[in-house]
Symmetry: C2
Subunit: 114 residues, 2 copies
């Protein structure tokens, strides 16, 4: 019931998008900054980063597309804030894979008993 909109992406697709969004050093850096505090403007985020403001903007759009971040316009500024839910989902997925693996090991152990 929480699914946002018309664009129905499969779970696999969505998960891949999310992983891909995090698969970039610059973006991981941004996530780090935003997850550790208050929303920040684009200019603010670009400040340290050796990149252009526009480059940072693009990265933010990618993160936004994956749901890791959301933007709120405030006057002439555009503030970006962290959104924890997707990472929680990701954690759940990782757990699932881990469990699947552990189960497989168990089943093998029954045979081999190494």
């Amino acid at each position: 019931m929480s699914r946002t909109a018309l664009k129905r992406r499969s779970d696999l697709e969505e998960r891949a998008t999310l992983f891909a969004a995090l698969g970039d050093e610059t973006r991981l850096g941004i996530v780090g900054k935003l997850s550790g505090g208050a929303p920040q403007s684009i200019a603010r985020l670009a400040e340290g980063s050796a990149l252009t403001r526009q480059a940072v903007t693009k990265h933010l759009r990618v993160l936004e597309g994956a749901g890791v971040v959301h933007s709120v316009k405030s006057g002439r500024e555009n503030l970006f804030a962290f959104r924890p839910q997707p990472l929680k989902d990701l954690r759940a997925y990782l757990d699932q894979v881990s469990n699947q693996w552990d189960d497989a090991l168990m089943r093998l152990k029954d045979f081999v008993e190494k």
Copy 2:
């Protein structure tokens, strides 16, 4: 003490590589298969997938580069198996980010008390 080799990648770098490796539907599919059972040959993995054997090979190399998978040659076959550790590390990272965020929220709440 567990760090493997000469190629010293920063944590950030390594994490980004890992996320990037998982940021592809095909690769996620492979991980799914391998995490759920026994090692499989390249040909085997390519079987269902509409992709060429070579394409699959490339994906496997990417996963291997991120440590999610490792290969063992067995005769003329090259078997790829799942390696759980990197995903465990990833999980730890996600927890860290989540905690950071929760802490930040707490600190804000002290002020705003909305």
